[in-house]
Point group: C3
Amino acid sequence: MVALSSLQSLTSLILMNSYSSSSSSSPSPSTSSPKAFLTRRKSIFFASSVLGSFLHFYTDPAPSFQFARAEEDEFEQEEEHVVQLFQETSPSVVFIKDLELVKNPKGTNEIMSTEDGSAKVEGTGSGFIWDKTGHIVTNYHVVAKLATDTSGLQRCEVVLVDANGSNFTKEGKIIGFDPAYDLAVLKVDMEGNELIPAILGTSNDLHVGQSCFAIGNPYGYENTLTTGVVSGLGREIPSPNGKAIRGAIQTDAAINSGNSGGPLIDSYGHVIGVNTATFTRKGTGISSGVNFAIPIDTVVKIVPYLVVYGTPYTDRY
Amino acid sequence: MVALSSLQSLTSLILMNSYSSSSSSSPSPSTSSPKAFLTRRKSIFFASSVLGSFLHFYTDPAPSFQFARAEEDEFEQEEEHVVQLFQETSPSVVFIKDLELVKNPKGTNEIMSTEDGSAKVEGTGSGFIWDKTGHIVTNYHVVAKLATDTSGLQRCEVVLVDANGSNFTKEGKIIGFDPAYDLAVLKVDMEGNELIPAILGTSNDLHVGQSCFAIGNPYGYENTLTTGVVSGLGREIPSPNGKAIRGAIQTDAAINSGNSGGPLIDSYGHVIGVNTATFTRKGTGISSGVNFAIPIDTVVKIVPYLVVYGTPYTDRY
Amino acid sequence: MVALSSLQSLTSLILMNSYSSSSSSSPSPSTSSPKAFLTRRKSIFFASSVLGSFLHFYTDPAPSFQFARAEEDEFEQEEEHVVQLFQETSPSVVFIKDLELVKNPKGTNEIMSTEDGSAKVEGTGSGFIWDKTGHIVTNYHVVAKLATDTSGLQRCEVVLVDANGSNFTKEGKIIGFDPAYDLAVLKVDMEGNELIPAILGTSNDLHVGQSCFAIGNPYGYENTLTTGVVSGLGREIPSPNGKAIRGAIQTDAAINSGNSGGPLIDSYGHVIGVNTATFTRKGTGISSGVNFAIPIDTVVKIVPYLVVYGTPYTDRY
């Protein structure tokens, strides 16, 4: 038994992107470890093939049934609901990598690549497709380095799925950001790819106890689904500029480093929030079961101004 | 890959109240951080408005339905069940703050307040309403400082909801406590408020796998709902006096610092245990998924003696 | 708010057995703490009585029903499904203790016992019954000390349940192991006990979002059930020999130290994977909600060779 005497100094609200190095001068453990990097690359390819196999779900032969009772029908139906919900919503979720170009003595930084050593991954996060023209919504803190870049070396790579289920990777250009609400908008060049925008819900009629689903890339594991319930409403979480974001949604669906910017989804498949923070031990980014999302109603107020003007419309109230 | 060689020295059973400072002489990070304190105050007000909005739940227009299949009915019904369960049971759950009066040179400690600086929050926990006369059940370790106070400076503040859904705060007077079972009883002055006592279940017919629900105030986030299943039965957890509490219920519903003393509830809305401890890394109080509650059958044996005699009836077996 | 700058150096994939000491020369905290040890012993006895009481489940009088609406029927049925699933599958799950014999000056190590001080527990893990002849499947890293023992002092104790619901403990002899897939096979002497082998499923038709269930012994708490969904598929996790195990199943069902080697089960009660690792803070072994299992299709390819030949059939592709 341990008295939790030093709790406050050990734990804090943690924003859930995953930075692999604290400064641009330190070597990135992520890229210096071939194995960890291989895992990430590989899971990209797998994600695509997994998405393809979903098409065959309802024609797969059902596994033999151990329990032969009426109740299993409901259980099966609920499972199918969650499976289908993931299939329909996950193509709208993107994987965001913060890259820093390695200064090239030959003076060309045109093509970025983590594979040829011309860039290194500084951190990862999540986001979701806002519209068919290629706007991506994420947390400001996921792309803060790019947003405040003065070196010209920061880049942002977005891994998306198009309407045919194919993965593709694009550079994300920063369109606008608002640290007060921890929101940012990126844009990717479509080049003929058709995107599936997320379907937005509303956060003003949520109830504690309803089911919710987080999709994102914790620790770089792409297209991860975690489930839970709405644990609380009307929470306040601190924004990157030190003010409070009100009306935050609390959930016990696991949210870890790398989930930041990804959608929290209700059982209709509608986005109800942007996964942003967890209450955890400092420095770990490990889900505690007390996790927070920015409510979608706030996102819907802020993002259109970021798309159109690129800056927050600070006098809108 | 890491060999878990030092596991035993890094982890331990943690009691789940939330102490913000270890000694009365050190400054409290909780009260010294205006933002953190604002968050807590705010969420109190929100909790009340949230409770009010519950009344309109079934008349709210349903959101548009993405999946048009028979199975969704069952899914919706299950969600409604959990939403309703929270609405019916959460008014019986209270938020407990351990206060220490700041020595007043003018010699009056009659009115305690964290807002005028005459008291500071030393820790927080949860509890539930035992009866309509204002008895509150919680863990002994949540109110241990008050129970063993010799300075006369320890106080306990209880935030409750009355039958009309209004929040109010009262001082809790300690009535009785039993460290051997980690249980304590507080009493609040009703002053015309009507309380909704928790409905007690039984813990002798529980089964591993049945659903359970924890309500409490992890990290001070009031009225938090987390869900899971009964993971194990008949566990032993250490009590504050070093003996074993037998028959403890193990659950994977997230229980974090601040959940201590709150109820574990079955799917009928009945209290089946008192959330008490988690198995976690020392000093963090972060839920591991291996969490423990004192069985309600034990609580039902102990609490009446504490209410009547104020001391444990140690010869009752 | 904390920038997760040192994340990569603080967290890593952790294999989920539970080692109580890193070297054979250091004293074991587990056995040096009488209370912790008592807890483990006790929970063995409880597990057995709990299993017995399951037989009476459907004849138990139902608790009084607070909500009188049609929807509860589905909710109850789903709970019964999970309860029954645990009852039918948990007898196939075993508890594995790594023991090291204490060198006996009188020269006899024939009878090992943690109670008379002739052996101490070095770590714990989980496993499941492969067939009626007493073969047990677990992770290689759970029994790595025994597999690579040159001192002759390593032993392995397996706690099982027979078809009558009685607990019994046997020494497990190592039959074969394959570090490349983190799998090992033990064999126990049946001596007339009838075992219930786990029912194997398939992992090639899994879908993200379907329900899954982990049974094992986190932190030595035997026969623990945790629940969640399949969070991802086609993951790669590192094996003990440094290569990648492909096709791993990711789940948000809590998996902690001691779960290693236990089964991940689908809602039909079929084994779909072997719980192996979690992504967490170094040294804690605490579930993050990002947990991994070796897919059963891989297990089914590897284990028969280990049973027959005792070594991996490395040229099988």
